[in-house]
C-alpha cells in the first residue's frame, strides 16, 4: 500500500462534500429568513401609512412626533392627537374605525417598535435634530413608506461611522452614547 498522503485522503472526500453542502445550506437558510421573514416591517395594530400622512398630505414629522427637537425620545402621538383630525377626516375607513374604537375604549394603541436601540444606549433625538440631521438619514424616506420599514440596522457601526465622518465632538468617546 502506498504511503502517499493523497491516496489516504481519498475516502474522506465524500465526508468533506457533505460538510460543504451543509455549510451552503446554512448560508441559504440565513439568507431566506432575513429576506422573506424579516422583522424590518412588523405588522402594526392599525395599518398606518406614513405615505399618506407625511408624503401626500405633507404633515411635518414633528407635528406628530412633537418632542423630537426637545427631548431624548421623539414621542409617539397620543390617541387624542390622532382623533384631533380623524374625528372629521376619513371616518368611514375601517382602519380609522379601529382608531375610533381605541379612542372610545380609552385604550392606547399598542404600536410595535420598528426602530429600537438597546437599553445601554443613550440616544437623544434632540441633539441629532439640533445638529441639523434629517429624520430620513436614520429612518429612511418614511414619507414614501406605506408600511414603515427599518432601513438601517441602528447598530454601533452605523452610529460610529456617522460620528466619525461628521467629526462629532467626543463623538467616539464610549460614554457619549453608552450609559
Amino acid at each position: 500500500m502506498s504511503i502517499s498522503v493523497l491516496d489516504a485522503l481519498q475516502p474522506f472526500k465524500k465526508a468533506v462534500f457533505i460538510g460543504l453542502f451543509g455549510l451552503f445550506g446554512l448560508v441559504v437558510g440565513v439568507w431566506a429568513n432575513t429576506t422573506y421573514f424579516s422583522d424590518k416591517a412588523p405588522v402594526q395594530p392599525i395599518n398606518f401609512s406614513h405615505q399618506i400622512h407625511a408624503g401626500e398630505n405633507e404633515i411635518p414629522c414633528m407635528y406628530c412626533h412633537a418632542h423630537a427637537a426637545t427631548s431624548t425620545s421623539a414621542g409617539v402621538p397620543s390617541v387624542e392627537k390622532c382623533m384631533g383630525c380623524h374625528k372629521a377626516i376619513a371616518t368611514d375607513r375601517p382602519e380609522i374605525q379601529k382608531l375610533t374604537n381605541y379612542w372610545n375604549n380609552r385604550e392606547p394603541i399598542p404600536w410595535i417598535k420598528v426602530h429600537d436601540v438597546p437599553d445601554f444606549v443613550y440616544f437623544p433625538h434632540k441633539r441629532h435634530i439640533q445638529a441639523g440631521l434629517e429624520c430620513q438619514q436614520c429612518h429612511g424616506d418614511v414619507q414614501n413608506m406605506a408600511v414603515v420599514t427599518r432601513v438601517s440596522d441602528l447598530k454601533m457601526p452605523f452610529c460610529v461611522d456617522c460620528h466619525t465622518e461628521r467629526e462629532v465632538e467626543h463623538g467616539r468617546d464610549c460614554w457619549t452614547c453608552h450609559k
Binding site: 434632540k126 441633539r127 464610549c174 460614554w175 453608552h178
Partner: protein, 250 residues
Amino acid sequence: MSIVEKYKKYRKAGYFDKFDYHWGMTIDLDRCTGCEACVVACTAENNLPIVGEENYRLKREIKWLRIERYWDGDYPDAKLNFIPILCQQCDQAPCETPCPVGATYHNQDGLNTQIYNRCIGTRTCAVYCPYEVRYFNWFTYKWDAPLEQQLNPDVSVREKGVMEKCTFCIQRIRDAKDTAKDEDRRRVRDGEVKPACVQSCATEALVFGDLNDPDAKVSKLYKDKRGYKVLEELNTAPSVVYLKKVKAHV
C-alpha cells in the same frame, strides 16, 4: 494622529486639562457626620442592586459610595472617624491599564469611566484598584415588582459578570451639558451638576465641580490647607481631595 502621538497624549497624567472639564470633588471630613444619606442617594440614583442578606454576608454588597469607620483609642477616650470612600477618579488610575478589552478608560473630562457592556469580567481592575471601589455583579440581581418601577432610566441596569463603579453621576453631567448646549452655553455653570451624594449631603461636606474652572467652589477648596488625598503615596493622582477633620477640645 499617529499611534505614537496618541500614546504620548493619553499617558500624560491630567492630559485632559486642555479639555473643557476636569471633574473633581472635595470631601470635608470636619463636616461629614457619617449619616449614610449619600449612600442611599447613590443607591437610588444609580440602580444599585439589592443583593440580599446572604450575598451581603459574603461581602458582595454593591455600594459605589461607602463610609469607612476608623476608631481612635479605647473607652473612655474612644473616638470614631468617618471617611466616605468612592471612586477617586484617579488621573493615573491603576485600574485602567490592565483591562484586556479596554472597558475602563479615562475620558476627556478626567473621568475614570467603566463601559458596562464592554466588560468581560476578568475583575483585574478591581484587583489593581487600591481603594476597592470597584464592585462586581456576581449575579444578575432582580427587583421585586413593583420596585423595578423606581429604576432610573438614565442608568443602565448591569447584568451578571460585569464590573461597575462610581461614575460621578455621569448621567447628570451629561444632562447638564445638554442643557448648556440647549442654552447655547459653551460650559456648564459651577454647581449646575451635583452627583446624588453631593446633592443629598445635609452638612454640605461634599463639593463637586470642574477643576479646570479656577472660580469653581471645588477648585478653591482643592487648595485648602487641610486638604489631602487618600493613599497619595501610591501616586494614583486622585481627583477627590479630603479635608482633614479638625481636632479640638473645649
